[in-house]
C-alpha cells in the first residue's frame, strides 16, 4: 500500500507542477505569484519550516513532561 501511494503522490505532484508551468495566471496580486510553481516550492519549504521550527520551539521549553501540572 505504501509503495503504491508513493507513486500516486509523485505522479500527481508531477502533473500539477506541469500544469502549473504551462498555464500561467493572467491576473496576479503579488510579485511572487509570477514565479513558476511558486506554490509547490512554498508548500515544500513551508512544511519543512513548520516541522523544524515547531520542534525546535517545542524542545526549547514548550514541551514538558506529562505530569508537569500535577
Amino acid at each position: 500500500m505504501g509503495r503504491r501511494l508513493k507513486y500516486i503522490l509523485f505522479i500527481s505532484c508531477g502533473v500539477s507542477i506541469l500544469i502549473g508551468l504551462f498555464f500561467r495566471p493572467e491576473h496576479v496580486h503579488f510579485w511572487w505569484e509570477k514565479i513558476p510553481v511558486f506554490d509547490a516550492i512554498f508548500g515544500f519549504l513551508g512544511c519543512i519550516v513548520i516541522v523544524l521550527g515547531s520542534k525546535a520551539l517545542g524542545h526549547r521549553g514548550i514541551q514538558k513532561d506529562e505530569d508537569y501540572y500535577d
Binding site: L9, C13, F38, G43, C47, I50, K64
Partner: protein
C-alpha cells in the same frame, strides 16, 4: 409569524421536557425531532426584526433575522442534529439536556437584536457547555471544566462591563456595528475574542475540549467559537487589530499542533488555527472577506464536527487518546469506514478541491490578496500547509497506521478496536456527505451568504496552486515522517499563567489570607462580645469606664514598680468590683427619678434652645 417561535426556545423547551420522557426509544426520537422542528422553524422565519419584548424600559429583541444570522442559524441547527445522532447511544439524560441548553442559547445569541439579550444567552452558553466537560467525570475533566468556566466568567464580566459603559454612553442597546476605540468597545471586543479563542486568550479551548465527553466535544467544537465569530462579524468588521490577530492565530494553532500528542487536543489547536482565518476575514472587512468568513464558519462547523467524531470514535472504542499509545497498531484494518469518513473531514479542512474547505478558505485568502496584504496572505498560506500536514497526514497516519519509533517498545497484545456504533457512523456519514455536497456544489452555500458572491473557486489556477501546495506538503511529510511521531509530552501554553502562578495564589489564599481572616474575625468577635455585654446596662458605662481606668492605672503601677505588696488584695478587690458592676443588670426601679427631674431637664433644654435661637437671631 404567530406560528413560529424563537428557535432558541425550541431547544430550551426540549431541554426541559427531555428528562420527563422516560421511555428510551421515545427519548431518542424526541432528541432527533427537536433539531428537525427547529430547522423547519428557521425555514419559516421571515427576514426582519420581531419578537420584541419591553423589559425595564429596554427592548429585548429575540428575532433579528437577516441573511447573516440565518446562515449561522442553519449550520448550528444542522450540526445540532448531527451531534444528536452521534450521541444517540448515550443513556445519560443530563448530557443531552446540557447540549440542548447549549444549542438553544447559541441560537439565542445568533438571533439576538440587542446586547442585553445577547449577554443573557452568552452566559447561558458558557454555563451549559461546561457540563459537557464535567460529564466526563474524571479529575482532569473536572479541573479543565473549572478553568473553562473561570475564563468564560472573566470574559463575560469584561463583556458586561463593556456593554454597560456602551449603553450609558450611547443610550442604545442595539446590537450592531460598534466603532472600535474607547474603553467600552475594547471591553466588548475582549469578551468576544475570549470566546473566539484568540491568542493569548485561547488556552481554555485546547485545555478543555479534549477533556470533554466523547459526544459532548462535538457540540463544543461547533458553537462557542463560531458564535463569537458571528458577533465579531456583527460588531467589529474592518478592525485592523483583528487582521493580525487572526493571521497570527492561524499559524499559532498550527505550530502547537506539531507538538501535540493527544489526538483531540491536536484537533483543538486546529480549531484555533481555522478560527484564525475567520477572525482575519472579519478584520479585513470587505464584502468578500465577510462572505468568506461566514462560509468558512459554515464549512468549518461541518468538517470539524466530522473530524472530532472520527477521533472521538477511536477514543470510544479503544479508550486511548494519545498518538504514542495508538501509533503502530494498524487500527485501519479494524475501523476502515471510520478512517475513510475521517479522511473526508481531513481533506475538507485542508481545502482539497471538491471538499467544502476549498470553497470557503480560499475565499478568505483571496480577499487578503485583493486587498494586497502580502504578509497576511503568506501567513494564511502557511497555515494551510500546516493544516494539511497535521489533520490530513500526521494525525490519521499516527492514529490508524503509524510506526513505533526505533528503540521504543510498545506494550504487548492487540488493542481492542472495532467500528464505532452505527449511530456514530451515520452521523459521520451525514457530515461527510454535506462536506462533499457543498464542495462539489458551492452554490448551495453561496446563495445564503450575506452579500452577493462574485468569487469562483473552481478556476484552473486555484485548483492547480492548491494541489501543488498540498502535494508538496505531502512530499515533505514523507521526508520527515519519523520526526512527526507523537512524543509523550504536553505543551505549555498561555494557560500556564493561571495554572502555575494559580497555585501560588491558592497558597496565598489558604495561608496568609486565611490567617488574616481568623485574626480579624477574632478581633471583631471580641468587640461584639464587649459591646453586647456593656449594652446590658448603658447607664453604668461611665462608672465602668472610671473603674476600668482606675484598675488599669493601679495595675500598671503595681507591675512597674512592684511596690505595694500589700495592695494585691486591694487590686483583686477592685477587679471583682468591676466585674460585679459589669454584671449588674438594668433595673428601671433603681434609676427611677421623680417626675420633676424630667420636667427640669426639659426646661433646661428649652432654655438652651431659646438661647441659641436668640443668639442666632442677632
Amino acid at each position: 409569524m404567530i406560528d413560529i417561535v424563537p428557535p432558541a426556545f425550541i431547544f430550551i423547551l426540549g431541554a426541559i421536557l427531555l428528562p420527563v420522557v422516560r421511555e428510551r426509544r421515545l427519548r431518542q426520537v424526541f432528541q432527533l425531532l427537536i433539531p428537525v422542528i427547529a430547522f423547519i422553524d428557521l425555514l419559516y422565519m421571515p427576514e426582519g426584526t420581531y419578537w420584541i419584548y419591553n423589559f425595564l424600559g429596554y427592548d429585548l429583541i429575540l428575532g433579528r433575522v437577516d441573511k447573516l444570522s440565518m446562515c449561522f442559524g442553519y449550520v448550528f441547527v444542522i450540526v445540532a442534529f448531527l451531534g444528536m445522532v452521534y450521541a444517540l447511544h448515550v443513556r445519560e439524560v443530563g448530557q443531552h439536556v446540557a447540549a440542548f441548553l447549549y444549542i438553544g442559547s447559541t441560537l439565542g445569541v445568533t438571533f439576538a437584536g440587542d446586547i442585553f439579550t445577547l449577554f443573557v444567552f452568552w452566559e447561558i452558553m458558557a454555563v451549559s457547555s461546561v457540563f459537557l466537560i464535567w460529564y466526563q467525570r474524571d479529575k482532569p475533566a473536572l479541573d479543565a471544566g473549572f478553568r473553562y468556566i473561570m475564563v468564560h466568567i472573566f470574559g463575560g464580566c469584561a463583556l458586561l462591563a463593556g456593554i454597560i459603559i456602551h449603553v450609558s454612553n450611547t443610550g442604545s442597546t442595539h446590537f450592531g456595528f460598534i466603532e472600535y476605540g474607547g474603553l467600552a468597545s475594547q471591553l466588548i471586543l475582549l469578551g468576544f475574542i475570549i470566546n473566539a479563542a484568540v491568542p493569548p486568550f485561547h488556552a481554555w479551548l485546547s485545555d478543555s475540549y479534549p477533556e470533554a465527553t466523547v459526544t459532548g466535544s462535538i457540540f463544543l467544537t461547533a458553537f462557542t467559537t463560531k458564535s463569537a465569530v458571528y458577533v465579531l462579524l456583527r460588531t467589529f468588521p474592518g478592525v485592523e487589530l483583528l487582521v493580525w490577530l487572526g493571521a497570527i492565530m492561524a499559524v499559532y494553532g498550527v505550530v502547537y499542533a506539531v507538538l501535540e500528542n493527544d489526538i483531540r487536543r491536536l484537533l483543538a489547536y486546529h480549531i484555533i488555527s481555522q478560527v484564525g482565518y475567520m477572525v482575519c476575514g472579519v478584520g479585513l472587512g470587505t464584502e468578500m472577506s465577510m462572505n468568506g468568513t461566514t462560509a468558512h464558519a459554515f464549512c468549518h462547523i461541518l468538517y470539524k464536527a466530522l473530524l472530532f467524531m472520527g477521533v472521538a470514535a477511536v477514543i470510544h472504542v479503544t479508550g486511548r487518546r494519545k498518538l504514542t499509545e495508538l501509533q503502530g497498531r494498524n487500527l485501519y484494518k479494524k475501523m476502515p469506514i471510520c478512517l475513510s469518513l475521517y479522511m473526508i473531514g481531513g481533506f475538507s479542512i485542508s481545502a482539497v478541491p471538491l471538499f467544502n474547505g476549498f470553497i470557503s478558505k480560499t475565499m478568505v485568502v483571496a480577499a487578503a490578496g485583493e486587498l494586497h496584504r502580502p504578509i497576511i496572505h503568506l501567513l494564511l498560506h502557511l497555515a494551510s500547509i500546516g493544516t494539511f500536514l497535521h489533520t490530513g497526514l500526521k494525525l490519521p497516519y499516527g492514529t490508524w497506521f503509524g510506526r513505533v519509533p526505533e528503540g521504543e517498545k510498545i506494550e504487548e497484545g492487540e488493542i481492542e478496536a472495532k467500528e464505532p456504533p452505527l449511530n456514530m457512523l451515520i452521523a459521520m456519514g451525514m457530515a461527510a456527505f454535506l462536506c462533499i455536497l457543498i464542495g462539489v456544489y458551492p452554490k448551495i452555500l453561496y446563495s445564503i451568504l450575506p452579500y452577493p458572491v462574485h468569487y469562483h473557486p473552481y478556476t484552473l489556477n486555484h485548483i492547480v496552486s492548491m494541489m501543488q501546495l498540498l502535494l508538496l506538503t505531502a512530499v515533505a511529510f514523507w521526508l520527515y515522517i519519523d520526526k512527526l511521531g507523537g512524543e509523550p509530552t504536553i505543551s505549555v501554553d498561555t494557560d500556564w499563567f493561571y495554572r502555575k502562578p494559580g497555585v501560588l495564589i491558592l497558597w496565598l489564599c489558604t495561608h496568609p489570607l486565611q490567617d488574616l481572616r481568623f485574626r480579624l474575625q477574632g478581633f471583631v468577635t471580641k468587640i461584639v462580645a464587649n459591646v453586647s455585654s456593656l449594652s446590658k446596662n448603658p447607664i453604668l458605662l461611665p462608672e465602668i469606664a472610671i473603674r476600668y481606668i482606675h484598675l488599669r492605672i493601679i495595675n500598671r503601677l503595681y507591675h512597674a514598680f512592684e511596690l505595694y505588696e500589700d495592695k494585691l488584695d486591694e487590686l483583686k478587690e477592685l477587679e471583682s468590683r468591676l466585674v460585679a458592676v459589669r454584671e449588674m443588670r438594668y433595673d428601671e426601679n433603681v434609676y427611677r427619678r421623680p417626675i420633676g427631674f424630667g420636667v427640669l431637664v426639659a426646661v433646661i433644654l428649652l432654655f438652651l434652645y431659646g438661647l441659641i435661637y436668640f443668639i442666632k437671631l442677632r
